[in-house]
Subunit: 199 residues, 2 copies
């Protein structure tokens, strides 16, 4: 990273930090981009240069989390089994949440309460899953690769998603891994009911 | 339904029909609510009374489809197995798509191209899944009901979602059932790779 990049990264991090402390003090809706800029001692235009909308600012941490998980998955050697590749993606998600539990919990809370943020989050999640699917399909190969990859990624996402929902509404910070483990165990043990065959 | 309700339903349907023919002629972005109102020969305020935003108008069919699927699932007798309940929900989705393939395909295309619609769609889907999860959890019962229900609903959704994606980008109108059947078969046969256990 060049000095310029390091400075940009610091400014960005400062804006996010200031924004989240405002969100937690007075709520997402009541906080303006102008206020965030003032508290971070930068111009409003600077804030907008980093984050086109307040929604994007609230969700910026998820973008980083998803990118890390995609890279963990993509960086597995070609010969790694698909199950191990999926595990690598899941393990990366868990590590990110373990590193930044407070901010991610706050971001989930905002997404849950605010329809515009929730919609944007759902969109991020969907595009992230599509990217993962391509990578997994490439590794599965063969005629039904696309189908199997989309089911496998959705399943893995559901394992993490169900655990996160439980964690951020109720849990202690270290509960997430336990929840993910329980969900994964249920899935692997074939305990999850599948629809009966179509007529 | 009262006469008043029937008239309201007709107006609503007329607005949606006119809107979709505009969307297909000139694109979603280029069409205004004012134009839709003029083409349907109603006031702009009437259009807004039915649909708060153009996004909501484009996605109104999905709301009906999701409602029908929830009712199909909820109306299963208490003693129905969870697999049969999930099948009932899936079958209802399929029937809706078979009844209105053109409009649903057009709505998917708009959602795919337009970030604001796609975000709203992802949000609809998420809230729909949450409703289904509650109903399924209630039927599973026991300590891990919530966990199993959220995985089961996500899996069922993935079966339908992967089929729809294939159908609306490439397929012939009658292909959807074939795709759903293939996805369900792969899932039931245990062909979908699950993540390896966490370290």
């Amino acid at each position: 990273m060049s000095l310029r990049e390091i400075k940009m990264e610091r400014t960005r991090e400062l804006i996010v930090e200031v924004a989240f402390s405002r969100f937690q003090e007075q709520g997402f809706a009541a906080t303006t981009m102008e206020e965030i800029a003032a508290a971070a001692e930068v111009g409003t235009r600077t804030v907008y240069r980093y984050f086109p909308t307040k929604e994007a600012l609230a969700l910026s941490e998820f973008v980083a989390v998803f990118d890390a998980s995609f890279h963990a998955l993509r960086d597995c050697p070609e010969e790694t089994s698909v199950s191990e590749v999926l595990r690598a993606g899941l393990e990366s998600l868990l590590r990110s949440y373990e590193e930044e539990p407070d901010r991610l919990r706050a971001a989930h809370a905002i997404a849950h309460e605010t329809p515009s943020v929730r919609a944007h989050f759902a969109y991020l999640l969907e595009t992230h899953e599509a990217t993962l699917q391509q990578e997994v399909a490439h590794r599965i190969g063969g005629a039904s690769a696309e189908l199997l990859a989309s089911l496998a990624v959705a399943q893995t996402g559901a394992v993490f998603g169900s655990a996160v929902r439980k964690w951020y509404t109720t849990g202690a910070p270290d509960d997430l891994r336990k929840q993910v483990r329980a969900a994964l165990q249920a899935l692997r043990a074939g305990e999850v009911p599948a629809p009966a065959p179509l007529a």
